[in-house]
Amino acid sequence: MVTLQLEALGACYGKKLIVSDVSTTPLKAGEIVAVIGPNAAGKSTLFKRIAGLLKGPGEVSLTATTKSRKAIGYMPQDTSANAVLTVYESILLARKQGSAWSVEDTDLRFIDTVMQALNITPIAFRDLGALSGGQRQLVSIAQTLVREPDVMLMDEPTSALDLHRQIEVLSFMQAQARLKGMIVLIAIHDLNQALRFADTVLLIADGKMRACGHPLDVINPMMLRDVYGIDARIEKCSRQFDHVIVDGVAA
């Protein structure tokens, strides 16, 4: 079973420490972790550090299965691409990285399945440059999924999607995490989606971890006033999901 634990993790750009002292309890297979925090808090930097793209102090302790091509899959925030490739080619590319030139039917079948699940089969042979922001995000999610990682780091995967699509995609990721035993970390600004889908919430502000735990322990009126500078309450909607009701900017 996959487990992931961050131990006093920090991330540097060059010699400058941007994020420091991020620690979690062991995160378990099937868990969804929402990483929240104001703009420029260090969420993307933390993801790059976990993915091994940046250096820094601390440890990323990962117990991974052996089935995966790469234990940690990272979906960057920037999904813009102007390569002369079709959507299908760009997803195949993610799947075949580090492999031989030949493309097996099993690869294509897996790609077809993921594309169908994300409802992007109709745009399979459209040029990447002709996609909308939301479509690009869905393609980027597919590119990460076809690598069959044990841990998925998704940097604002739903920021360009409409509300319906946001709930669809996050429900799908939640189901996939449970089904495949993945750990999914999602950097997200929408606190209501974090409350609805996350098992754990990790709060970062000014490059430091401020809290990590059950969503309602982290997202509360005191934190919202302190970190986001807003007066807000937590109330349940008709389907019993917790929601942040914003009253206004804190005085």
Binding site: D78, V84, T121, F172
Partner: protein, 358 residues
Amino acid sequence: MAAADIILTREAAVQGRGEYRARTRRKIMILVGLSLALCLSFAVDLAWGPARYGLDQVILALIDPDAVSAQVRTVIWDIRMPVAVMAIVVGAALSVAGAQMQTILANPLASPFTLGISAAASFGAALGIVTTVPIIPVAAGLIVPVNAFIMALAATLFIHFVSQVRGVSVQTVVLLGIALVFTFNALLAFVQYLASEQALSQVVFWTMGSLTKATWPKIWATLAVLLIALPLFARNAWALTAIRLGEDKAASFGVNVRYIRLETMLIISLLASVPVSFVGTIGFVGLVGPHIARMILGEDQRFFLPGSVLAGALLLSVTSIVSKSILPGVVFPIGIITALVGVPFFISLILSNVRRSW
């Protein structure tokens, strides 16, 4: 969007897997078509000249040299063959160099010619011709090509390292390339000013770019560089394609972007400088060849790479035919013809669909 495990529908599989396989077959057919066009162009290049032969005669001379007259054999094998083969090898090398430069610099205007690498090689060669001073100690016969190579390598690495500096945009790299062209052209003019009359005429002819300087040792050397480069690029095909999706995305796929960029740049410097050191400055093939390949095959390197090889080779082979067809009995330096064809293409690239493709 189903929450549980997804059952792939037949319709989705046909739209996906079936269509992908059909498109792949189409790309392979395009590559076969380009290869056939190259064979035809090669045969015409051998057939055309002051004495014109039929294609049947050329094919006979290639298959069974003893079946044609000694004169035809000598013209085709000893005079035209090195030029025709050199056109193909140099065209392929420059086109691949341009293709990979455009890939790793994410820049549609990148090519050995536009970024000043050819100008650097010209300066290095001119320095060798005029002063006979080698930049590094080598045998006398190798001074010109080695000087050209060292200068081209220095220019390539300079562009590479500047493009790696944080915040440097694609436009900055192009402007830097233009600055390099001006700098090396000024240095070339300086060397020409100091040159003797004989050395000057040699330098001027060299900078025009001409395949008439082709010899078998030069062909083998260029071919060797191409045969070293192509498998290395082929090995990195998925990684190089991924780099076109952006540095972060490629890194997220597990690509060591820094290493691939450096390795590719070093190979490019060889590919760009060796042909130039032998046949002089031949511009725009490295720009136009990859764009043709990209337009018809896309940027999946498994097709884009052989497509660039064939498009560049075909382009220079056809140009070789044109260079001896304009005025009967006159063979124009091929660099003049490629520039005449390339400049309008270059302008149209800037003005038209650059934004759409990149």
